[in-house]
Amino acid sequence: MTIDEIQQEIVEEFSGFEDWMDKYAYLIEIGNEMAPIDAKYKVESNLIRGCQSRVWLHQEFTVGKIKFEAESDALIVKGLVALLLRIYSDRTPKEILESEPRFIDEIGLRQHLSPTRSNGLLAMVKQMKLYALAYEKISAKK
């Protein structure tokens, strides 16, 4: 599936929730179910610090694709992190650079990606894009 198709899939998953409470309960559920990041990657150099919550982001670049692992200490953020990984992990730099996480807006959680929310999520998206940009340049040189 393309990034866009997965985003559409997520939007449909959330369309079933009428109440905001159900939406957040679902985010908490996926946050809880998410596999924790390998302890050796939960280090200062992978930390994206927000005033409100922290996000750790690790990446590896193999056979033209970037694989991301991430985690947050806040569960709602972790749930959103899980969704971001679902669309952005295991993608080529080009795919990552050409796509915006529009699903967050469409499922009505746009405020969590606003620059005024220092929860580390917006910084995480930026960081993923920076990695994509860097790997794209490295690949082009080869």
Partner: protein, 405 residues
């Protein structure tokens, strides 16, 4: 007598609204308190009819503005009982007030090897300016610690103050623990060793009556927006004997006496410390807020706020897994807490959906987070317009949300 809160709440139109479809419960007063309509109208009226720059022209509006600005200074002076209006300097807020003292006092009095004392419970605004000054002047920052219950370890103060100590800075009320510090005792102890004291009154002024002469403090800093006034305005009280000896903080208009390219002489107090066009609209709103507080029968520092704190504390303690940080016997209406297994960001996000505004995060007090070995906290802070019903709704919401985790 139980005050009629519904009547008071009519003065604060902002409180009467729905957030995400739920009635607003505003428990973020320690960050910014709401303004009564009397403050808003006074500022609007001024902007609509009077606005002109102060102290700089002979025309009618300039004179009116200057009069209003200086009358505001007199209102602040009266409110804190300063000896003279020249000892009241208008600033952007507590942060600027502290930076001003840290810089100017530092330039005048701090040398290599000197010591500055702060407490472990300070807001960053009462740590960083001193740290910057210490770095610049080669001085050392020392810290008076607090006990787990939120009380300062005042018994350590005597040995902390040495012949090298040049100034001590402490919060009147902690913005996280809510502790009302024994500042009279601190000031007395410091003065015995000729050490001047700055009090960060950002959280004190909203809850306590202040008499700077009775306290004997050398500096007292506070903000307009935390005592029902506008943002961008605050005051620094300083004893003339210090202010006269301190060099200006910033250079510009109004603070000068005479400028040539070789040398500038400075204006007298308080103008020496008020470079540039001041926030006179803010100052007028600030004074209007003080007028409101003083006119109001039900004053913010009445027992009612304390009752809110007591009831909220009792109810919160009934929630399993909830831990309150700071339970000093003398405490203002500020409660920081965490619920086991629930991240403050998650709790704040969900409370917001229920129309409840609290503060979450590190609360500009990293050392307090470190003391309790936590990353974040949730803070509920009350004002005299809050109600027991709101506290009930808040506690019910916490129980409901806790079950989601």
């Amino acid at each position: 007598m139980i005050p009629d809160i519904s009547k008071i709440r009519k003065d604060f139109p902002i409180l009467d609204q729905k957030i995400h479809g739920k009635p607003l419960i505003y428990f973020d007063n320690a960050a910014t308190s709401q303004r009564p309509i009397q403050v808003i109208e006074r500022m609007d009226e001024f902007s609509l009819r009077t606005n002109a720059n102060i102290h700089r022209a002979t025309h009618y509006l300039a004179n009116k503005t200057t009069e209003a600005f200086e009358a505001s200074r007199e209102t602040v002076r009266r409110y804190i009982n300063a000896a003279e209006a020249a000892e009241v300097i208008f600033t952007h807020g507590t942060t600027e007030s502290i930076n001003l003292v840290a810089f100017s006092f530092g330039e005048a009095f701090i040398n290599v090897g000197d010591e500055v004392i702060v407490t472990e419970m300070e807001h960053h605004a009462n740590i960083v300016p001193w740290q910057m000054m210490c770095n610049r002047r080669g001085a050392i920052l020392k810290v008076l610690p607090f006990r787990d219950n939120g009380e300062l370890q005042i018994e350590l103060l005597d040995s902390l103050i040495t012949s090298k100590t040049k100034i001590l800075a402490a919060a009147h009320v902690s913005n996280t623990l809510g502790t009302i510090n024994p500042i009279r005792e601190i000031i007395l102890k410091a003065h015995l060793k000729n050490v001047p004291v700055l009090i960060d009154g950002a959280q004190g002024a909203p809850h306590l009556k202040i008499d700077v002469q009775e306290l004997g403090c050398d500096f007292y800093a506070f903000s307009g927006h935390k005592i029902y006034g506008p943002t961008g305005i605050g005051a620094l009280y300083g004893k003339r004997k210090w202010l006269d000896q301190m060099p200006p903080f910033m250079g510009g208009g109004e603070m000068i006496d005479r400028v040539t390219f070789e040398k500038t002489t400075y204006n007298q107090l308080p103008y020496k410390f008020e470079a540039g066009t001041p926030n006179y609209v803010g100052a007028i709103g600030f004074a209007a807020a003080i007028d409101y507080i003083q006119r109001n029968e039900h004053q913010p520092f009445s027992n009612y706020e304390h009752d809110l704190l007591t009831v909220a504390t009792e109810k919160l303690k009934q929630i399993e897994g909830l831990k309150i940080y700071g339970e000093a016997p003398s405490k203002a209406a500020v409660i920081c807490f965490n619920i086991e297994g629930v991240h403050p960001f998650d709790l704040g996000t969900l409370l917001d959906q229920l129309g409840i505004a609290v503060r979450t995060g590190r609360l500009c007090a990293d050392p307090v987070m470190d003391h309790y070995e936590v990353e974040n906290m949730v803070r509920a802070s009350f004002a005299f317009y809050n109600t027991f019903d709101e506290i009930n709704a808040f506690c019910k919401a916490l129980i409901r949300l806790k079950a989601m985790f």
